[in-house]
Assembly symmetry: C2
Homo-oligomer: 227 residues x 2
DNA sequence: TAGATTGTTAATCGATTAACAATC
DNA sequence: TAGATTGTTAATCGATTAACAATC
């Protein structure tokens, strides 16, 4: 099937772009802005019924036209002259992000960072429940962080059904990261947030986002040093 | 001055692109890849003298042509048929990132996250020294985290010269973030890494990067839910 | 030389945005 | 109606990459 030169194609659109629209794929840049819109909508939910693309843009550090295009990718429509329904847009973005229901998160590694993350109340507030905290250190296993008991990482393998979770946060030392990631993948996990300062290799079906403190500081340093 | 139609311009280049080359600006996408190259180079420093664009690309999750173009933005040249000098490229990237010398970092907020960051050895290994840790809680002030004594945030204002730092890490509660950011800006800081789950407004001359756990999880959820 | 790898071009891709008709 | 704001087009921008001549 040829996708270009069809009735709906225009010279200003690339063939690949037309294809992505056909299969209803949302641009990556849009996906990363959705949580920013959502945050404003949650703040606004009690005070306003309607929000404009201008306000959403200010909250996300984007352009109003950009916002309108983003929302049109969701097939979400506002009212001309009025704006967008706060409640409806909030629900629509939650649905699109796959967080209409609460998500279960496991934290791997109960070091300083793992414990800090387990204690962080902001997760629950945004719909993420930390349901497990794993470590390999026998001195830590059994002790509690908040209401969560640290468990032996070896339990992971048998835990598939009883303690299932959708998302894993990797907070282990760099040397252990790949090994633990492999076990998570075996366990069927498809989303990993990696705080370890190494890239982990995973099958294509698994998505990983890495948060690397040193690299963030290095990028900051670049911009700080030339002003 | 017109920038297009000049002797050096070609139809395949946009006028804005030509301008950025004239003033020697490095593309943002390149800047964020430099730390990834640097990490590989540090790992390689003891074992290899030369590295290829192919290897650098694999480490950074980029394309080899992309790497070669990135390095040409640094005016850094390799040797055809051979590759790039590991030691020279490492030094060149450090210089470009403004981290030829060690950088001093202050952490604002000695809660779970602030203390976890202060304890994180990876920072020092990458050339960042945590020189101060501030909080407002009188029960925390004076106690130590590792070798650093928690100080009263009010000292920040008098501290300009004696305890100066180039980079600040914001690890305070959301409600305090803007206020503390304002004080940092007054203090003359130009680089802020913000872990608080709110955008902070700063003058244009200050750069901020935000790390927001919930938003990262929401983006992950999107990709995890459609596979 | 033959093989390897750079440096650069040209094309395409993906994202942004000004502008404005549509319309509440 | 007049004012406000959406939805969409068209242009441009910024980034990526295949391909290949240059050259070690």
């Amino acid at each position: 099937m040829r996708l270009d030169s069809g009735a709906g194609s225009r010279d200003s659109k690339h063939a690949a772009q037309v294809y992505r629209e056909l299969v209803n794929e949302i641009p990556k840049a849009t996906v990363v802005r959705l949580p920013r819109y959502l945050r404003l909508l949650e703040d606004l939910a009690l005070s306003k019924d309607v929000v404009s693309s201008e306000e959403l843009a200010a909250a996300a550090g984007a352009n109003a036209a950009n916002v309108r295009r983003d929302l049109s990718h969701l097939d979400f429509h506002g009212v001309r002259g009025i704006g967008y329904s706060v409640a409806e847009l909030k629900a629509r973005i939650r649905q699109e992000l796959g967080i209409a229901e609460r998500q279960r998160v496991a934290i791997l590694g109960a070091g300083n960072l793992g414990r800090a993350l387990a204690n962080y109340g902001g997760l629950s507030r945004r719909g993420f429940d930390v349901v497990a905290l794993y470590d390999t250190d026998v001195r830590k296993i059994g002790s509690k962080v908040g209401s969560i008991t640290i468990q032996d990482l070896d339990l992971l393998d048998g835990d598939c059904t009883s303690k299932s979770f959708e998302i894993a946060i990797l907070a282990v030392p760099a040397v252990a990261a790949q090994q633990v990631a492999d076990r998570l993948v075996e366990h069927g996990i498809r989303s990993i947030l990696n705080f370890a300062p190494v890239r982990v290799n995973v099958p294509e079906k698994v998505s990983v986002r890495q948060v690397d403190l040193s690299m963030e500081l290095q990028v900051l340093s670049y911009y700080g040093s030339r002003l």
